[in-house]
C-alpha cells in the first residue's frame, strides 16, 4: 500500500497503524534473510509507537501527514539511542546522543521508524557491497546488486519492507540504487533538507532525500523533511515547497532538454537498453505537450573526474574524527598516536581507506593545485554550463545509471569501473541542483531502468510534474 493511502486510512481509523506494521514485518520476516536491506529492525519500538498512534486516533486526536506510515532510514542518519553505524566497524555499537533533524520531522509527522538500512561504508560505493555487515541484494534478482550507496533503502522499498525510506546522495547514492531497484529516488536541492545528524561524507555535496514506490509518496515525504534548520548553516531559508499541489498539472509547454553528453554521444558505457528508455521518455514528454530538444552541458562529462577528487578530499577531512578517542570502538596501543592508527586501520574498510588516501593525496603539498584546485574550477564550469542550458530549458533529462543492476562481485576489485556508475548523477551534486530517478520500464534482462530528471536549484515542482507524467505512462 502507498504511503499516502496508509496515512489517510490510519487517520480515518479505517485501518490500525499496528496492522500496517504487522503486514510489513511479515514481508520482512519472509525475505530479509535473503535481501539484507537492514542493519537493524526496530520491531518493538515501532509497535509501541503504532499503538500510541492508534490510541490517539481512538481518542479523536488529529495526527500528522504520515500517520502510521512505516519508514526505513539509512544507517548514516543519526537516531538517538539507536545504533548508527554507517555500515562501518569503526562505529559498531555507536548510539548517537541526538536525532538528525529529519528524524524529528518524521516523528512530528507521525511516521514510524522501522529500522536502519544497510549501505556502502560511510556512503562510499555504488553497490552496497562495501558494508561491514555484508552486501544487500537486489529484490528483483538476488544475484545482482541493488546499487548504492543507499542500496538498503532502495531494496527495502522495492521488496515491500517499507513504503518509504530515506537515503543520502553525494554523487548519486539515492538515484542510482533507485534506478537499479525500480523505485523513485530524489536528491533535493542542496540545502533543501537539513544535514544536521547526517554523518558527513563530502559536506559540499551530501543531501538527504526520499525513496518511494510512487512519485506522490516521494513528494509527500520530501515536503515533510524539507525546510530551514538553524542547526545546519547551509540550510536554505525557505519553506517546504508545495509539490503535491502541482503534481498533476502536466507539462504542457514545458521545455525539456535531453543532455546529449550523458545520453550516448561522447560517453561510452551506456547500455542501448538504457538509451532506448530515455528515448521513449522523450516521446512521452512530447505527447504530453512538452517541447523536447537536445541540450548540451559540455563540462558534464568532466564531472566524474572532478568529483573523485573533491569528494575524497572532503572525506579525508571529515573522517579524521574517527580515531577511537571520544566514541566508537578503540584498538588499544602503547601511545595515543598508535592507538589512533590501529583503530582506523582496523575500523575502516578498503574503499574508505582508498578515498581517504586519495583525498589526502589531492590535498597534499605539491598536488593541491593540479587536483583539488583544478577540480574546483571544473565545478564552476559545470555550474556555468548548467546555467546556460537552463536559459533554454525548464528541466533536463538523462539516464540515471549507465546500466541495469550488475552481478555481485563484478566491480569490487576495480574501483574505477564502480565509479563509472555515477557518471550521470554526479553533475547535479557538483552544481547543488535537484535531480530524481523515475522507474521507466525494463531492460532486455528484465531489470528496472530509471530515467533521471534534473532541474535548476529550487525547481523541484517542475521536476516532479515531469516525473508524474512518466509515472502515469508506466501505469501507476
Amino acid at each position: 500500500m502507498r504511503a499516502v493511502e496508509i496515512a489517510k486510512q490510519v487517520s480515518s481509523g479505517e485501518i490500525s497503524a499496528r496492522s500496517v506494521l504487522e503486514q510489513h514485518f511479515e514481508t520482512i520476516n519472509n525475505l530479509e534473510t535473503q535481501v539484507n536491506a537492514f542493519n537493524i529492525v526496530t520491531i518493538e519500538e515501532a509497535l509501541k509507537e503504532a499503538d500510541e498512534i492508534d490510541s490517539k486516533i481512538a481518542s479523536g486526536e488529529k495526527l500528522g501527514p504520515l500517520a502510521g506510515v512505516p519508514i526505513a532510514v539509512k544507517d548514516n542518519i543519526c537516531t538517538r539511542g539507536l545504533e548508527t553505524t554507517c555500515s562501518s566497524k569503526i562505529l559498531e555499537g555507536w548510539k548517537p546522543p541526538y536525532n538528525a533533524t529529519v528524524i524529528d520531522k518524521l516523528k512530528q509527522a507521525d511516521a514510524i521508524l522501522i529500522g536502519k538500512t544497510n549501505c556502502d561504508e560511510f556512503a562510499m560505493g555504488s553497490s552496497t557491497e562495501n558494508s561491514a555487515f555484508g552486501p544487500t541484494r537486489n529484490p528483483h534478482n538476488l544475484e545482482l546488486v541493488p546499487g548504492g550507496s543507499s542500496g538498503g533503502s532502495a531494496a527495502a522499498v522495492a521488496a515491500g519492507f517499507s513504503p518509504l525510506a530515506l537515503g543520502s546522495d553525494t554523487g548519486g547514492s539515492i538515484r542510482q540504487p533507485a534506478a537499479l531497484c525500480g523505485v523513485v529516488g530524489v536528491k533535493p536541492t542542496y540545502g533543501r533538507v537539513s544535514r544536521y545528524g547526517l554523518v558527513a561524507f563530502a559536506s559540499s555535496l551530501d543531501q538527504i532525500g526520499p525513496f518511494a514506490n510512487t512519485v506522490s509518496d516521494a513528494a509527500l515525504s520530501l515536503e515533510i523533511i524539507s525546510g530551514y534548520d538553524p542547526r545546519d548553516s547551509t540550510s536554505i531559508s525557505e519553506d517546504s515547497p508545495d509539490i503535491l499541489g502541482v503534481l498533476n498539472e502536466g507539462i504542457e509547454g514545458m521545455r525539456i532538454g535531453v543532455i546529449e553528453e550523458l545520453s550516448g554521444k561522447g560517453l561510452d558505457g551506456i547500455s542501448t537498453d538504457v538509451l532506448s528508455r530515455v528515448e521513449e521518455a522523450t516521446k512521452v514528454f512530447s505527447k504530453a505537450g512538452a517541447i523536447v530538444e537536445s541540450a548540451s552541458v559540455p563540462a558534464s562529462t568532466y564531472g566524474l573526474s572532478a568529483y573523485y577528487v573533491i569528494a575524497p578530499a572532503e572525506a579525508s577531512s571529515n573522517l579524521a574524527r574517527y580515531d577511537g578517542i571520544r566514541f566508537g570502538p578503540r584498538t588499544e596501543a602503547a601511545t595515543t598516536a598508535e592507538t589512533m592508527t590501529a583503530t582506523r586501520t582496523k575500523g575502516f574498510g578498503d574503499e574508505v581507506k582508498r578515498r581517504i588516501m586519495l583525498g589526502t593525496y589531492a590535498l597534499s603539498a605539491g598536488y593541491y593545485d593540479a587536483y583539488y584546485g583544478k577540480s574546483q574550477k571544473v565545478r564552476t564550469l559545470i555550474m556555468n554550463d548548467f546555467a546556460e542550458a537552463y536559459e533554454k530549458f525548464d528541466i533536463l533529462i538523462s539516464p540515471t545509471a549507465p546500466t541495469t543492476a550488475f552481478p555481485l562481485g563484478e566491480k569490487t576489485t576495480d574501483p574505477m569501473q564502480m565509479y563509472l556508475q555515477d557518471v550521470c548523477t554526479i553533475p547535479s551534486n557538483l552544481a547543488g541542483h535537484p535531480a530524481m530517478s523515475v522507474p521507466f520500464g525494463l531492460g532486455s534482462d528484465g531489470m528496472p531502468i530509471g530515467v533521471q530528471i534534473l532541474a535548476p536549484a529550487m525547481a523541484e515542482q517542475n521536476m516532479f510534474r515531469a516525473a508524474r507524467v512518466l509515472e502515469l505512462e508506466s501505469g501507476e
Binding site: 577528487v309 570502538p329 595515543t336 598508535e338 581507506k353 574550477k377 547543488g432
Partner: protein, 100 residues
C-alpha cells in the same frame, strides 16, 4: 597505464591519514589509486585559467544565532559511548614518548 602515484607516495599519504598498510595492500592500493588519478588526468586537457574555483554549490555566508543557552547533549549519554573515561573526561593512552 602511467603510474600516477608511486608506492612510496601511497605509503606517505597512508601515514598522513593515520592508516597502516600491509605490503600487499600497498601494492593493490598503488594500482587502484593510479587508475583513478589516471582517469582524472582528462582534466589536464581543460583550460580553466580564467575560471574561478567553486568550493560550494551555494554562496556561503556566516550564520550567527542569538547567544542564548539551549538544551545540550546529555553528558552521561555522550560518555556512555566513549571507549574510556575518567571523571567526566575522555581518557587516552600516553601521548608523550611516542615512537615513530
Amino acid at each position: 597505464m602511467v603510474e600516477r602515484i608511486s608506492r612510496e607516495e601511497v605509503a606517505h599519504v597512508a601515514r598522513l591519514a593515520q592508516l597502516s598498510l600491509s605490503e600487499e595492500e600497498l601494492d593493490s592500493f598503488t594500482l587502484q589509486l593510479s587508475a583513478v588519478l589516471d582517469h582524472a588526468a582528462d582534466l589536464e586537457a581543460l583550460n580553466v585559467d580564467d575560471v574561478e574555483p567553486s568550493s560550494h554549490p551555494i554562496p556561503l555566508k556566516n550564520v550567527l544565532r542569538p547567544d542564548e543557552p539551549t538544551e545540550n547533549f546529555d553528558i552521561e549519554e555522550v560518555f556512555q559511548m566513549a571507549p574510556e573515561i575518567e571523571e567526566n573526561q575522555f581518557r587516552v593512552p600516553p601521548i608523550l614518548g611516542e615512537s615513530q
